[in-house]
């Protein structure tokens, strides 16, 4: 068991190093964009801003002309305690506040969509491979691959237009009804469910095929192995062979993919937000880039990179649990 712990600690060290690199790139990349936040900010005034006020505003927004090194050290120190400063685009709100607002709904929408797509896709893939050539195996993969091949925004817009606007089956926007006050009341939760359903379904529809095909293909490979023959020969129940023997081995690549997908969730379903007006983080990202809002961009990118790293660490742990070979 000591080996396992050492292995996991080693991975953790690697991720810490990666986090530092991400943190630094995070600082550098926005600053390499042409233009600066002040310029964009002042564009809102259409050239009618007095130069004195321009200087005063620059100072207010903390757009210092200090050297990159000193900015970098301040940034690192503050990042360690979770302080990303004040957003320029949403002045005077602190970046953490802006981030937290979108984060919750991101987890609700994109998180549930990824979990559902992963679970359903993996299960469908298992079944399709187990009954190879059955109706599930011959109908679903091409249909799902077709769905997945559509550009997401087009599919989502079509769904919104036909199901929401045309047939009135789903709400057209937002995460819950505007008539309700957020809380834990049954009406509110039902409203959240209703509003999340269509955007989540579109997200699931485009990603389901990927999970299913990956699972099915690995599973078919595993099913051809000798140990599956042996398990059958031992007279084990077919379901036990399917789940505990074949699926457990075939799921490893999907688990790795799941970690990545879970990490990317925090980037927000950008197009979903724009099409369904769902208040997730994606729109913040666009807006912060447009406004060259360095503090907000740093906060956002850091959340995303840390989420990807954390998800990978958990995948490492899961792999250790699932695959005894990694424990050596």
């Amino acid at each position: 068991m000591g080996g396992t712990a050492r292995y996991l600690l080693g991975r953790l060290g690697f991720y810490l190093l990666a986090a530092w690199v991400a943190l630094s790139l995070n600082f550098l990349i926005p600053r390499m964009m042409p233009g600066d936040p002040a310029t964009v900010m002042f564009a809102r005034f259409q050239g009618q801003l007095s130069p004195e006020a321009m200087d005063a505003l620059r100072e207010t927004f903390g757009l210092s002309d200090a050297s990159w090194w000193s900015q970098y050290w301040t940034y690192l120190r503050h990042a360690l305690v979770g302080d990303f400063g004040t957003s320029v685009a949403y002045f005077p709100e602190p970046v953490t506040g802006v981030l937290l607002r979108g984060l919750f709904w991101t987890v609700v929408l994109a998180g549930s969509a990824v979990v559902v797509a992963f679970a359903a896709g993996t299960l469908l893939g298992t079944l399709a491979a187990w009954r190879r050539g059955g109706w599930l195996d011959s109908v679903l993969p091409p249909v799902l691959a077709l769905l997945g091949a559509f550009p997401y925004f087009w599919l989502a817009m079509l769904a919104l237009f036909v199901l929401g606007f045309g047939m009135g089956l789903f709400p057209l926007r937002h995460a819950y009804s505007d008539q309700l006050t957020p809380g834990l009341s049954p009406e509110f939760l039902a409203s959240v469910f209703r509003h999340t359903l269509l955007p989540a379904l579109t997200l699931v529809a485009v990603s389901l095929g990927g999970w299913m095909l990956a699972m099915r293909n690995t599973m078919i490979g595993v099913l051809g192995s000798d140990f599956i023959e042996y398990a059958h020969a031992r007279g084990l129940a077919p379901r036990r062979v399917m789940l505990a023997y074949a699926a457990r081995n075939a799921i490893l690549p999907n688990v790795t993919g799941f970690g990545m997908a879970l990490g990317f969730v925090l980037g927000g379903a950008l197009l979903t937000e724009i099409i369904f007006s769902y208040p997730v983080q994606g729109y913040l990202l666009i807006q912060s880039v447009r406004a060259q809002d360095y503090p907000l961009m740093q906060g956002l990118f850091l959340t995303i990179s840390l989420a990807v790293l954390a998800a990978n660490w958990f995948v490492d742990c899961a792999t250790v649990a699932l695959d005894p070979r990694t424990r050596r």
Partner: protein
């Protein structure tokens, strides 16, 4: 077994269209507005930190100015002030304030509040976005109904800036320690709407001011703002009748919006605002020569630009560069002297020949160095109307032998280059105000000139004209309308003679209304203001006039 479960789950998922939310009508008297496109709302009602950080309608609907200019009427409407008088040598200006105005918390509004607001801007330069303290010396209140502005130098355009300054209450703001970063969550103000009834990330509501000074206004109970992040979503909400008032660009609006409900879906896109220009950088190659600039202008088919880029929603601009809203300042007679905004490629070719840019054998014009004249026309990625306009213009200019290519930049990069003067040709807006003074300053004054490489707030093309400087200085010193008009005509003549910018088309004002539940919106038949909510302060006219269609049962509030 598993299969049955799965199929059952799928069927359940498909049949869940119990999901449809019962369509809920907003309460009567609550006007739903789509003005700012955001993903979620941030509670900020600080009116002094201008530039789009505070929620609409903080500047105007919540905090009011002394007077409101109305381009549709070409006139000033007295608001918190009833009028103004200039002192003898136009270095002092006094406003008399309206009697009986109260702040929403019941306190009386007095000259003290006006003096405090201006002094606050002196103390906090970040608030003085208009640069009031570049021409003001002091502000005082000789009596509670009068405010006296002493000028450091004669500066008549200062009146417009002072009249449009929104006023904050002294009794609230004097105890605010960090006014710049204060979000002012519960505003105390004089405007028609001051009570924040609810504030969520998705929707917020602003109720009417219980102490509003204008008799019988506002006639509506509250404004409601759902968060709508994109133009497409806003259009769907308008089509669906979920939004009563909006200021969006909508393509093919007759079919998409008006046609769906001809009785109640109204729009009005008047051209009372500014204009959109082609900026030629005067420091780049042959563009320094007015003949070349006029030739470029003559080569552009503006009707085509308006048709292709702007869906025919607007009309081409003329040589004055002044819109319909400046009718009183325009010298109509002078427009026909040298109409270099008329499409005339033959004349364009003649001017280019005259300017010493001969046509080479390959069909390209040669500069003085014998090389083909190549110019890049910059525009902004994603601003599809401007991109289409740029493509038409580039094709037109290629037609007279100029090698012009369109290049799109990200907004930040584009604006940075523009301000630093590091571009050849670009589409751009120009300053717009109650008089064309600001436009002329930006177009041809030495005061707005900055060297290449430095950030210039306006005058991106880098041009100054000594005659225009003299005229602008004279304009700053006279409050006499006849004299102002004479100088304005002379400035227009200078603009036409020098062609510093090439006017393309008038900037339309986007405004849509759904009259199912409300009446009294402005229209071409009733043009008391522009319909669009996008024009700061001007929308006060609309907010105080629109009324619910059926009488609202008063709620005890």
């Amino acid at each position: 077994m598993t299969r049955i479960l799965l199929v059952g789950a799928l069927v359940a998922a498909i049949l869940t269209p119990a999901c449809a939310e019962p369509a809920m009508e907003p309460e009567p008297g609550v006007l739903v507005v789509s003005r700012e496109q955001v993903g979620s709302w941030v509670r900020n009602f600080n009116p002094l930190l201008a530039g789009g950080l505070a929620r609409w309608p903080t500047r105007g609907g919540i905090y009011e100015p002394l007077m409101v200019h109305n381009p549709a009427q070409g006139a000033w409407t007295p608001w918190l002030a009833t009028g103004f008088t200039w002192g003898e040598d136009v270095t002092s200006l006094s406003f008399s304030l309206r009697e009986g105005v109260r702040w929403s918390d019941g306190e009386a509004f007095t000259a003290d509040d006006v003096v405090f607001t201006f002094d606050l801007m002196k103390k906090v330069p970040a608030f003085d976005t208009q640069g009031h303290w570049r021409y003001l010396r002091s502000v005082s209140a000789p009596d509670p109904q009068t405010v006296q502005f002493a000028f450091a130098r004669p500066f008549v355009p200062g009146m417009e800036k002072i009249a449009h300054q929104v006023i904050v209450p002294r009794h609230v703001w004097e105890s605010v320690e960090e006014p710049v970063s204060w979000t002012n969550p519960d505003p105390v103000a004089t405007g028609p709407f001051t009570e924040v009834r609810r504030f969520d990330h998705q929707v917020w509501e602003l109720g009417k001011n219980p102490n509003y000074w204008m008799d019988g206004a506002p006639k509506i109970e509250a404004l409601r703002f759902p968060a709508i992040p994109s133009n497409e979503q806003a259009t769907i909400a308008l089509m669906h009748g979920e939004v009563d008032w909006a200021g969006n660009f909508i393509p093919a609006i007759d079919r998409i919006f008006a046609g769906r409900n001809p009785e109640h879906h109204r729009y009005w896109f008047p051209n009372f605002g500014g204009a959109i220009f082609l900026y030629p950088n005067h420091t780049v190659g042959p563009l320094k020569d007015a003949r070349v600039r006029k030739a470029l202008s003559r080569a552009i088919d503006r009707d085509k630009v308006v048709q292709v880029a702007m869906y025919d929603y607007t009309s081409p601009a003329d040589v004055s560069g002044l819109s319909d809203g400046y009718a009183q300042w325009r010298d109509e007679a002078a427009l026909t002297e040298d109409p270099w905004t008329d499409f005339d490629p033959a004349e364009a070719a003649r001017l280019l020949d005259e300017a010493g840019l001969p046509l080479g054998e390959d069909g390209l014009r040669r500069g003085t160095d014998g090389q083909p004249v190549t110019l890049e026309l910059s525009c902004i990625t994603g601003w599809s109307d401007w991109v289409r306009a740029a493509q038409v213009i580039a094709r037109n200019l290629q037609g007279v032998g100029l090698d012009v290519s369109v290049k799109s930049y990200d907004f930040g990069a584009w604006f940075d280059q523009l301000q630093r003067g590091e571009f050849a040709l670009s589409i751009g807006w120009a300053s717009y105000g109650p008089t064309p003074y600001g436009f002329w300053v930006g177009a041809m004054s030495s005061g707005s000139m900055f060297p290449i490489g430095e950030v210039a707030p306006q005058n991106w093309h880098r041009f100054s004209d000594p005659e225009a400087d003299t005229l602008l200085a004279a304009f700053e010193r006279t409050a006499d309308p006849a004299e102002q008009e004479r100088i304005a005509h002379a400035l227009q003549a200078r603009f036409q003679a020098t062609a510093p910018l090439l006017p393309l088309f008038l900037d339309p004002s986007w405004g849509e209304a759904n009259t199912t539940r409300f009446t009294g919106f402005p229209s071409a038949e009733n043009p008391y203001s522009r319909l669009s909510p996008n024009h700061e302060l001007e929308f006060l006219h609309v907010l105080t006039r629109i009324a619910p269609r059926e009488p609202v049962v008063a709620e005890g509030n």
